[in-house]
Symmetry: C2
Subunit: 515 residues, 2 copies
């Protein structure tokens, strides 16, 4: 059947309560009983949780063929934990595992042979990049992978769609009771927001750290009362790859131009007033928006109430300079952010459920005024693709894109019309990640398009001198420059499902014929 | 049948999986699936949680006859919230409610007529004091009340023994999303540790505050993602009764003598070394122990690793003076404690599950070296009663007594042999709150008795000049002074069950014949 963004979803996927995408707010007010783990009580004091090795932990958890295990991505490209644990599991000969990861990328390249030999037969993740992305795109995984948003992953766990048997949580520091944190270690990642739900909903929870500290290691996003075992290893990650030293502020004139225009859009809309809330990404143009906002804030004499997201140095700077009252952090993207969270007053950690879960009683994304997002592709219905390259390969991530887009009062996509001879604006995206009904404004280097369902924003922008165009005009322009893009040829094999944040299927990804 | 502390438990109570007490660690390693609430998702942004009145909140939650509602006691004797909510419910004519309170006392006296008219037909609480205690003792409540420990209450909720339909959470401050805290308000109570489990496990959650602050009100022990509605009222409590100005340091020579002896016991045992953990109560002698520990710490050149509990000014002072590295706070007993938590580095809030829940993966009580506790009565098997007066009236609370006693390596009871012509040390306590197997040392003004099952501690104390006696000798002494206590006459009507922290029945309380 065709879903609400006109994508064909094979009937074979629509079973066991799984539905096709019906609209961004279809599951509003949906009543359900939350999932819960099966645990063992530790009444007797004096029982140590410390184990000597990852192998001992795997054995003690009772991990066996067919189970689901989880990892988080706070150590980003510097993560050693996922690869270390999987190497042990692989050596032990455990097969047919489902990996519920918050994101996978370069640091998990060693999982590819385990996909090929059936150690790993199922994957759900936000990011599916690099070697893992290649492997999935080529159809090497036995079962269809699920691409989930950050909010969608928590939702899947909290609703019981995914039940984690064993969570492996890499932590920068932990005490022997399992109170674990992204701070205070040899390799700090700042926050453990994405692992909180794993600790609370997995049957067995193993904390892996290289920095064992005296109890109590508080405040701790991972509470010892949820942790079964603690393993100390030599190193959980490469600090130089966990957080970038400093994210380069773009000098590209095209990016700067778009960033400035984006700031002007914000300044022209009615939510730009004292106490406004704001999120932006770490990409060149998105990051630069933060810088361009400052003069507008000065001019109006207003402050930002709170900034959220993957937090970066420019946001930390604004907090320190008094332009932002609070930063709520679910991911630390650079060293400044890692150092600032828990240290600067007003810079606090939130869990991924607090951040973006569509099926709790109101995540922070619901209260965002502005979010600035990127796009690999955007179509004339404002549907955005952030997952699949224009060659058909899985190489991106939904991350919090669909979550923040659905929540924010004003969702702005900043993207160049053309990248490396590929059109960003198209008649149809290769696959839909974020539905157009939740996307309000597109800022490109060839003009600014407003979604026709946001006449309120259009009227506000018409009072400015911003170069307004229609998205069809942008698409025409791209086609005039590049010609119509050749459609990619796909086989019939569905290799991944793009799940909307509420658990419905918004699109599928098939294996490209070229692979 | 007789349970493991030789108390007769009527068979009629042993149904639906309820068992008689079998020993303090009977439920160790018990496997169970945690309970979970039924919630409604808030996908659509822009929905306000703010309601105009408590009545509107009660209506919106769908509260009806026979349901279970919950309250916490962080506002202590200054609490307005429970009485305000119950007054509204009473006016609305809702009947047959089960109140799951963390504690009830003087501030809830207005509930007595509601017990009499069937608005309230069931109660579980730790403290059942003052007018409520009188009413329960007199058999006015329709159903048998349950006296629960602080850890036992969380356990009951997390295992699903108690399912809360609607939680009413009084908060010192909240933002419009329901992020609520014990700080930042007109009437600060410091922490909301006992309400955390309610927020996470109740189907509907209402935050009631007198101080609405700009979002995000973080850090917040009550997360907005768990909150359905927020109601702003004029006042949540009387600050002068929420926390005592300063708890009086005792000048009673008898109390000081016992406190000094208790400190000497601690100093003579092997856990008194750098990094030791410690909890004490707010009673005269218990509180004074803290003061007497200081010279011993100086002498050995050691620091306390962490102090826990109801936190009071002497503990805050030690933290500030560098004698304690961390304070973990589940209740703030005085203004100094309220002001210090979240403000002094190293003084952090923990939930009641983290504090004392026997059926998570290891609460902080499990890691206590020393706990100093009081007793209304203690028998020659070292069983302690902290709930029932020697006249048979319910007038106390288990609180964290059974929880910390079970967890700590060395549990010390400090109590005078005789109080107001009543013997503390007896052949048999009126009812058992804490089993003797978890009580190690009794410090009285007539000598120090060590539980025979702790020969290790006895040997350590024998190396000192502390006045060691047997508990039988203490009991003989009390009887020599006062004569044998007259047994109280009880009717057959069981008015309350004293539940051990693991959910088994450790004793029952019957209606005194005099009532």
């Amino acid at each position: 059947m065709k879903n609400a963004v006109h994508r064909e979803i094979p009937d074979a996927l629509l079973k066991d309560g799984v539905e096709a995408f019906q609209g961004a707010f279809y599951r509003d007010n949906y009543e359900f009983k939350k999932a819960a783990p099966k645990i063992r009580s530790q009444v007797q004091p004096g029982t140590s949780k410390m184990l000597d090795s990852i192998k001992e932990a795997v054995e003690k958890t009772g991990l066996k063929d067919g189970m689901t295990i989880s990892f988080h991505h706070h150590f980003r490209n510097g993560d050693y934990v996922c690869a270390m644990v999987m190497e042990v599991i692989h050596e032990m000969g455990i097969k047919d595992l489902y990996i519920c990861a918050s994101s996978l990328g370069k640091a998990q390249a060693s999982l590819v042979p385990m996909i090929e030999d059936g150690t790993i037969t199922g994957i759900s993740s936000s990011g599916v990049r690099d070697e893992i992305g290649e492997a999935l795109s080529s159809g090497k995984l036995k079962n269809i992978a699920t691409i989930r948003t950050h909010g969608g992953r928590v939702r899947a766990i909290e609703t019981g769609q995914v039940h984690i048997d064993v969570a492996f949580i890499g932590a920068s520091s932990s005490d022997p009771y399992g109170n674990a944190s992204g701070k205070g270690g040899k390799a700090d990642c700042g926050v453990l927001s994405y692992a909180s739900v794993d600790a609370q909903y997995a049957d067995k929870v193993v904390v892996i750290t290289d920095t064992l500290v005296e109890a109590p290691n508080l405040p701790a996003p991972i509470q010892g009362v949820d942790v079964d075992y603690v393993v100390k290893v030599d190193s959980v990650g490469d600090p130089s790859k966990i957080a970038s030293g400093a994210i380069r502020m773009t000098k590209d004139p095209r990016e700067l131009k778009m960033a400035k225009a984006c700031a002007e859009v914000i300044a022209a809309t009615r939510w730009f007033k004292d106490g406004f809330s704001f999120q932006t990404g770490a990409g060149g143009a998105s990051l630069a928006v933060t810088r361009f906002l400052k003069p507008f804030m000065d001019e109006r004499g207003i402050k930002m109430g709170w900034g959220m997201g993957g937090i970066t140095e420019p946001m930390v700077d604004l907090l320190r300079e008094g332009y932002i009252r609070k930063l709520v952090n679910d991911q630390a993207f650079d060293i400044a952010s890692v150092e600032s969270v828990y240290t600067d007053p007003g810079h606090v950690e939130i869990s991924s459920s607090q951040y973006a879960n569509p099926m709790n009683k109101g995540a922070f994304v619901n209260y965002l005024d502005y979010v600035i997002l990127g796009a690999l592709e955007i179509d004339t219905d404002f549907n955005v693709n952030t997952v699949q390259g224009s060659d058909g390969t899985i190489q991106g991530a939904p991350g919090g894109h669909p979550d923040t887009a659905a929540g924010a009062k004003c969702t702005i996509i900043v993207a160049p019309l053309i990248r490396s001879r590929l059109a960003t604006v198209r008649r149809q995206v290769t696959s839909v990640t974020t539905p157009g009904e939740t996307v309000d404004v597109l800022v490109t280097d060839y003009g600014i398009a407003v979604n026709p369902n946001r006449q309120d924003i259009l009227e506000e922008l018409q009072k400015t001198r911003l170069p307004l165009v229609t998205i069809e005009e942008l698409c025409d322009k791209a086609e005039a420059i590049l010609g119509k893009p050749e459609p990619i040829q796909f086989t019939d094999q569905v290799v991944a499902v793009v799940e909307y944040r509420d658990g419905t299927i918004i699109d599928t990804i098939r294996k490209p014929a070229s692979r």
